[in-house]
């Protein structure tokens, strides 16, 4: 390849570049190893790509916005071109956002691209996380990348909220007022923390410039670093793949980086970017001019955060009004602390540690590169749906006023119902999901043993009618057989062979009990003997059918039985 016969100008430039770089950094080896790197193809693998691309779009559009935005809370009188606010006092931050929207060509477009991309960024990170969770892609060796992903989601939410707050309109100011209330609720140091954050009392004059630096420098910097690490790990460890014919735990099947994957991934970037620009051209997002400037004594009905804060707003709305006061000593605002700090802290900790928690329960420390079908791990899937239900109820509660308005319901009734649902619904969701998974396992076993019903009847010599079954296709068979039975830990011995007491026996017993619970319900896979006799039976049935002249949909398949 290196000395091509056709030495056209392109070949020359390729050769030249490769040589130039290799002479200096010995890159040829690296490129050789990676140029044809294989990436499996599946739509659900592109969710993470959406997140990456929206992040790039955020960097581009955000940089543009910084050229016009003024992170200043200094009060000025508006004299721009938006008439309904002419002569109104407002902060420079808000005035400059109005300027971007009404006086800069393409400014409104960039603002809308930036905001839509921000919503999409957090959304695609979240959906990507769900895909990774439900397919077990976080298992060894990818636990650390899961942890990084959790960190990315947390930072994305903070980054989103800080950006939502920068325009200093009535809605975002209300959000900041709530944030200041949350900081005040921190035990012991809350008041001091609030004074340090806001440079004194709320709202002060310092906060917007501080938040700006955090939004455009600090968090994006960390995000960039973590995203790089996230991608490098995916690259190095190679992508997981769904089960299928020819796909094993020891290989990766897909398209080579050059050219197919590069074209598809690159093309998808343009699709994500293009759709975002189109949406920004056609659909309003965050009409800050309509909200008016932030003034601490004004508020609008339906004050809402962006979608990714909605669940925290919901938890705050559902929380009973618990507050502990010891007069003369202190006030502990559990009504603020629990829903806004303790609950999300707990949820994100569990989320980040989940791979290790599951590993500890199952004792499974093998490396997994083949994705697990959600049904094949009923407890994980059940827990995931349970957490999603919990989240969804909080999320819906965050919009209880809008729901009440649109559906003509009582806001109080919604809140009370949601309080009950928050406790009742998640366990029910778990049980239902687990049952569904198990019955799907049964169905899979049936398919393996008895094949697929063809809908054609066969009359047996005895006069009995049976339905003809065909063996499942190779592709399906490969998927069905990809299931790994969930391991169960042995009962821990109280003493080892030398009669020494096992340390932490209680923990080991708990672990064993959980491992038992985790795997005891699973439908056992058919044994070799069962499969063979089932195959024989099916073949026999088919040949009998052919004798009787029953027409089959396809030629009698020779089931792959190389045993």
């Amino acid at each position: 390849m290196s000395n091509s016969v056709n030495q056209g100008p392109i070949d020359k430039s390729i050769d030249g570049t490769v040589k130039y770089l290799d002479d200096r950094f010995s890159t040829a080896g690296f490129i050789k190893r990676n140029m044809r790197k294989v990436f499996p193809d599946h739509w659900s693998f592109m969710l993470g790509e959406i997140a990456l691309y929206s992040f790039i779009i955020l960097l581009l559009s955000g940089t543009y916005l910084t050229f016009f935005y003024k992170p200043s809370m200094l009060e000025i009188v508006y004299d721009g071109s938006y008439l309904p606010l002419k002569g109104i006092k407002m902060s420079e931050a808000y005035a400059s956002t109005l300027e971007i929207s009404f006086d800069v060509r393409g400014g409104l477009l960039m603002r809308q691209i930036h905001h839509w991309a921000a919503l999409l960024f957090v959304a695609s990170v979240s959906i990507h996380l769900l895909r990774v969770f439900f397919t077990g892609a976080f298992r060894k060796p990818r636990e650390i990348n899961w942890l990084i992903g959790t960190g990315l989601l947390t930072l994305a939410i903070f980054e989103g909220f800080s950006g939502y707050s920068l325009p200093d309109d009535l809605l975002s100011g209300t959000g900041l007022r709530i944030a200041s209330g949350i900081v005040l609720a921190i035990p012991v140091v809350g008041t001091y923390a609030s004074y340090l954050v806001f440079g004194g009392e709320f709202p002060g004059l310092d906060f917007m410039s501080r938040l700006y630096t955090i939004h455009v420098l600090l968090i994006p910097g960390i995000l960039l670093g973590l995203i790089t690490a996230h991608l490098m790990m995916v690259w190095y460890q190679k992508h997981t793949q769904y089960p299928g014919p020819g796909r094993t735990n020891n290989n990766v099947v897909g398209y080579p980086l050059l050219p197919v994957y590069m074209a598809k991934a690159g093309g998808f970037f343009f699709i994500v970017f293009g759709i975002l620009v189109l949406v920004s051209a056609l659909v309003t997002i965050n009409p800050i001019w309509a909200y008016g400037p932030y003034i601490p004594d004004q508020v609008t009905a339906g004050s809402q955060p962006d979608w990714y804060i909605g669940w925290l707003d919901g938890s705050t709305r559902l929380m009973p009004n618990w507050e502990i006061t010891i007069p003369g000593l202190f006030t502990l605002s559990l009504n603020v602390l629990i829903p806004t700090l303790i609950l999300p802290g707990l949820m994100f900790t569990i989320l980040g540690l989940y791979p290790w928690i599951e590993q500890w329960i199952t004792g499974d420390k093998r490396a997994h590169h083949l994705l697990e079908r959600p049904r094949n791990n009923p407890n994980r899937t059940g827990l995931g749906v349970m957490a999603l239900t919990f989240y969804a109820i909080l999320w819906i509660s965050g919009g209880n006023d809008i729901i009440a308005q649109m559906l003509n319901l009582s806001i109080n009734a919604i809140t009370i119902t949601m309080r009950a649902m928050l406790i009742i619904a998640p366990p029910i969701a778990f049980v239902i999901t687990k049952r569904i998974c198990l019955s799907l396992q049964h169905k899979d076993k049936e398919l393996l043993l008895h094949g697929e019903p063809t809908g054609r009847l066969l009359r047996l010599p005895s006069g009995e009618f049976i339905e003809i079954h065909e063996p499942v296709s190779d592709a399906k068979r490969a998927v069905l057989l990809s299931r790994t039975e969930l391991p169960m830990l042995p009962v821990p011995a109280s003493h080892d062979a030398n009669g020494v007491k096992t340390p932490n026996l209680w923990a080991k017993k708990l672990q064993r009990r959980l491992s038992h619970w985790w795997s005891v319900d699973q439908v056992p896979l058919p044994t070799v003997a069962e499969l063979e006799s089932a195959t024989e039976h099916t073949l026999h049935e088919l040949s009998e059918a052919q004798e009787q002249g029953v027409e089959l949909t396809k030629d009698t398949p020779a089931p792959t039985s190389n045993h």
Binding site: L109, A263, D297, L525
Partner: protein
């Protein structure tokens, strides 16, 4: 550790062998099916044409985007059916630019799908674990390095280093102390005080009791707020002073927070929610309920603004009001308790 299914050294396992080799997945890739463009040169040419049309259209849209950017003034508006009156520049530039970008993506994907090789290839995975020998030697070397440094044996050096390192972040914390002043009594006091007159928000008119009828609602501020803001140029005072003044018939007023704090059924309460500080003014004058739009805490203004629903734990502080010699509504004093959200030292 013995009860864990750990396989040292070779972390890649064939799929678990619970029911013998039945579990080995079918290990052959399905046969590659040729596409129409692979067999039929006409189909290939057609695909090629489609791709290049998309790229050319993209180029056209880019040019249109530049033209729209330059030609359409930012304050020109057009009426679009379904969307109403919208900024022409945003619509035109956004639509053309969006199409230009999208078409490159669509073209590239179409190209990849129709014309680039679509035969899947297989690559093998390798265990990430290094060989036992290498691991062993690395562990040995680290141990050796540790010994050579004397980190383990020279206790005084180790402890003094750890002490130094532990202290080093403290200056960063100290630096943060100047991010803001130390809280004093600001959270406990507002601009209200004895004899301060009530003025309407935002128009600043003085208020008399006879301005109110039963059912009236007024958002008000202290008269001195205006001068304070002229002097201080921030919104800190405004975040604490706003009050709601309502009038109900005296028999509807079941309780107030202090004796003589109302004036003939006119009561004034802090407008700042005691939950997390949103301004509240969703007043239902027949039930006397006041609803916070942020988290739906509901207060009963006829009953000392006690909480009747929602996450707020405390009633809204009441401002004792009266009338001065000229007949204007005034405050009898500042609030008797801190307004707004709770804080630790509130007690």
């Amino acid at each position: 550790m013995s009860n864990e299914l750990e396989h040292e050294g070779s972390s890649i396992l064939p799929v678990q062998q619970t029911s013998t080799e039945v579990n080995t997945p079918v290990s052959v890739l399905p046969p590659h099916v040729l596409r129409r463009a692979d067999i039929d040169p006409i189909a290939a040419t057609r695909a090629e044409r489609q791709v290049s049309i998309m790229f050319l259209l993209s180029a056209l849209f880019t040019l249109l985007a530049i033209v729209s950017f330059i030609a359409i003034p930012v304050d020109q508006y057009v009426r679009v059916p379904g969307a109403g009156v919208t900024q022409a520049s945003n619509l035109a530039v956004g639509f053309t630019l969006g199409m230009a970008i999208l078409l490159i993506g669509l073209g590239a994907i179409h190209w990849a799908k129709k014309l680039m090789p679509d035969e899947e290839v297989t690559d093998s995975r390798h265990s990430f674990s290094s060989s036992k020998e290498i691991r062993q030697s690395v562990m040995e070397e680290i141990r050796l390095g540790g010994q050579e440094s004397g980190f383990a044996t020279r206790k005084i050096v180790r402890r003094s280093l750890l002490t130094a390192l532990a202290l080093l972040p403290l200056p960063a914390v100290v630096l943060a102390l100047d991010f803001g002043p130390t809280p004093k009594n600001e959270l406990r006091s507002t601009l209200w005080g004895k004899g301060v007159r009530l003025v309407t928000d935002p128009t600043g008119r003085l208020l008399r009791p006879e301005d109110f009828q039963v059912g009236s609602l007024v958002s008000a501020h202290p008269e001195n707020l205006h001068d304070w803001e002229e002097e201080n140029h921030n919104l800190n005072a405004r975040a604490k002073t706003p009050i709601l003044v309502v009038r109900m018939s005296p028999e509807e007023l079941r309780s107030t927070q202090g004796e003589g704090w109302d004036y003939q059924g006119i009561v004034a309460f802090s407008k700042v929610c005691t939950h997390v500080g949103c301004p509240i003014a969703l007043y239902e004058h027949r039930t006397h309920h006041l609803l916070c739009p942020c988290h739906q805490s509901t207060f009963d203004l006829a009953d000392s603004a006690n909480v009747v629903f929602g996450p707020a734990a405390r009633r809204l502080p009441q401002l004792p009001i009266s009338v001065d010699s000229e007949g204007y509504l005034i405050a009898q004093s500042d609030f008797q308790e801190p307004v707004g959200p709770s804080f630790w030292e509130r007690g």
